[in-house]
């Protein structure tokens, strides 16, 4: 890859600047790092949290900018697929730049973002009132952005609601809940705070609030289900969608499969994919079945050595889980951190072997009396490990969501030989994204039709 000057150069127009700033702020709640991923469609910002349970993707279309220029610096050797700008910025570096939204709207007249690959940095220039020009040079790390392919349109349940309604409702739930549950039937939508599983007095209050389907702009429930995910993330996402002034679309299925919260207007598309708790009451006893996060190294495996394993794991496509600690504390820091740490280590060592990461199981799992269920969090990006989890084998989607790796050469034949049926959306990297985006359009249309 030769040295190269301008990867992208989008000056931002008036009110868009604060929206851009708000997008960065919202993603800063997800992760400490942000990928800047320009393409001919526009500039995408991506972030994933350390435990890989939340993924944020905000795409600013080229029309969002007054002027957008992107040229691929080089193409991949074989396939003529343009290489991405592998640009990962530390949130710490750019959040202060975009922190004051008011300032961005009022005092800044123009904002220019230029990437300079030769110097490994992105330049943010603010042309402010009174002839003041502020330039920020932010160094970036060379890192492949994580791209998640997810078929929103295949979800059984699709809801669309004005974010204000949800925000008002959230306020009424007690504030110290860590998780929130959406419970749907064709006639009803219920918002619940996490159910306390301990019989202790100090366990939190369980709150519940119902919404009539009439209150939604679009209400399609194909599957009666209850999904639980991180409350904190929901709050951040709602606040961003209110700024966008478009309804919030929610796509989900069975527990364990990630929920997608997305907002779409003509210039800007935001998607947040959140892992949901899966319900496996039978799994309590055996630590072995509590499978773990696989690193991205999975993708780089030698086909010969591990195709069988890949095949098996992907075929069973049950969500893999990080087992939970005592139910009272729903986000056990320590076990989760250790699994994440191991995971990142694996990613960097690029191991070919899909040997399991040392378990993050917490042995003091409480199984309270009564129907309290052990809940496990799904790590949504990767295929299953345990062969025991076969329940979802019949489900059409092989994996919940697949991380695409642009350096990968997805050899469909090879994968099929391994016994894996490749979903239509996932053929080769760039095609895969195109397909996914195309696949999403019909849904968008359906939703906008419903709006009328």
């Amino acid at each position: 890859m030769s040295g190269h000057t301008d990867g992208l150069r989008p000056p931002l127009a008036a009110a868009s600047r604060s929206l851009f700033g708000k997008a960065i702020q919202t993603l800063s709640r997800v992760s400490d790092d942000l990928w800047l991923d320009p393409s001919e469609k526009g500039l995408a910002l991506r972030a994933v949290n350390s435990c890989h349970s939340t993924y944020g993707y905000i795409l600013f279309s080229s029309l969002f900018f007054q002027h957008y220029q992107w040229s691929p610096s080089a193409t991949m050797r074989d396939n003529d697929i343009p290489m991405n700008l592998n640009c990962k910025l530390a949130i710490k570096s750019i959040l202060p730049i975009f922190r004051c939204l008011n300032y961005l709207e009022k005092s800044v007249e123009k904002c220019k973002i230029v990437s300079r690959l030769d110097k490994c940095r992105v330049v943010f220039q603010f042309f402010c009132k009174h002839g003041i020009k502020r330039t920020h040079n932010v160094y970036f790390q060379d890192s492949q952005p994580l791209k998640i392919l997810f078929e929103k349109s295949l979800c059984a349940n699709i809801l669309m609601i004005r974010p204000r309604l949800l925000t008002e409702a959230i306020v009424l739930l007690t504030s110290n809940q860590e998780e929130v549950t959406f419970s749907v039937t064709p006639g009803n939508f219920c918002l619940k705070s996490s159910s306390g599983e301990s019989l202790d007095l100090s366990s939190s209050v369980y709150s519940e609030m119902s919404f009539d389907p009439e209150e939604f702009d679009f209400f399609q429930v194909g599957l009666d289900t209850e999904i639980t995910f991180c409350f904190k993330e929901l709050k951040g996402i709602l606040s961003f969608s209110e700024v966008m002034h478009v309804p919030l679309s929610i796509y989900f299925d069975f527990p364990g499969k990630p929920v997608v919260l997305s907002m779409d207007d003509m210039l800007l598309e935001a998607n947040f994919i959140l892992a949901t708790l899966s319900d496996h009451p039978s799994r309590v006893s055996s630590p072995q079945s509590q499978s773990l996060c696989l690193s991205q190294a999975l993708r780089r495996t030698e086909p010969t050595q591990s195709s069988a394993q890949v095949g098996q794991s992907q075929a069973s496509q049950a969500p893999e889980s990080i087992s939970r600690a005592a139910p009272k504390r729903l986000f056990p820091k320590d076990p989760l951190d250790s699994s994440c740490a191991t995971e990142t280590k694996r990613a960097s060592t690029n191991q070919d072997d899909i040997s399991e990461v040392p378990e993050s199981v917490v042995s003091d799992m409480e199984e309270g009396p009564g129907p309290s269920q052990l809940r496990k969090f799904s790590c949504m990006f990767f295929g299953a490990v345990s062969s025991q989890q076969q329940e979802y084998a019949s489900h059409p989607l092989d994996s919940l969501a697949i991380a695409s790796d642009s350096e990968e050469d997805w050899d469909t034949d090879r994968l099929e030989r391994a016994g894996l049926r490749v979903p239509a959306a996932m053929v080769s990297q760039s095609q895969g994204i195109q397909q996914m985006l195309q696949a999403e359009k019909p849904v968008a249309k359906k939703v906008s039709e419903a709006r009328k």
Binding site: L165, L201, Y206, S207, E208, E215
Partner: protein, 280 residues
Amino acid sequence: MKFRAKIVDLACLNHFTRVSNMIAKLAKTCTLRISPEKLNFILSDKLASGGVSMWCELEQENIFSEFQMEGVSAENNAIYLELTSENLSRALKTAQNARALKIKLTNKHFPCLTVSVELLSSSSSSRIVTHDIPIKVIPRRLWKDLQEPSVPDSDVSIYLPALKTMKSVVEKMKNISNHLVIEANLNGELNLKIETELVCVTTHFKDLGNPLLSSESASQSRHPEDMAEVHIDIKKLLQFLAGQQVTPTKAVCNIVSNRIVHFDLLLEDISLQYFIPALS
């Protein structure tokens, strides 16, 4: 055991919410006693509370438009529940502009007090929010510890000054010393004193007035200038004062020399009694 009650009047609801907020500040965990005529919030003088006890009583018909209860048995027609006070006050806080509020005893997986609020949502359809507050039912054998404390024969009885003023004084004193002396006489004078090696600080309140005493009272023969005093833990006094958000209708302080200080407040129709024992 059954309990269900309903509040439809907004003023009553706000009043009940205020009481619940106060209780949440006074005691982290407390006992709720439900009887046919009354509701009581009780904190008994266990070691956990450091000897402090509290008895708050409200007449149910002043608050609830509907009230039905069935106690443990016919002879023991009461229900004693233990709950985390903050859970109740937070749940009530969501009912600020509610049309109606219902409370009932339920058993969903574990015993709960279910607070169900009917709100008018912005889309003008009413929305129901329910909160299940986990509780523990207190068995009958422990009821004897949770009875109304007997009001001791006090040496001095005096009306309290403005509680906000007392609170700001005690707050500052807390930084200097851990215990405080509260003393009062029958001449309407009350002092708050702290003493360390380096400094003594006394705040004097005058012209407070003393409630009329009954004729058998021990303090009949007492000289009006004589101070009755108690050494107490300053944090306990501060906790009591911090819980008072509203000006009470009536506030009396009864002191039994070197034994206990008893605060007797009336907040409209709700009575609160708070006992702080002397430091041993």
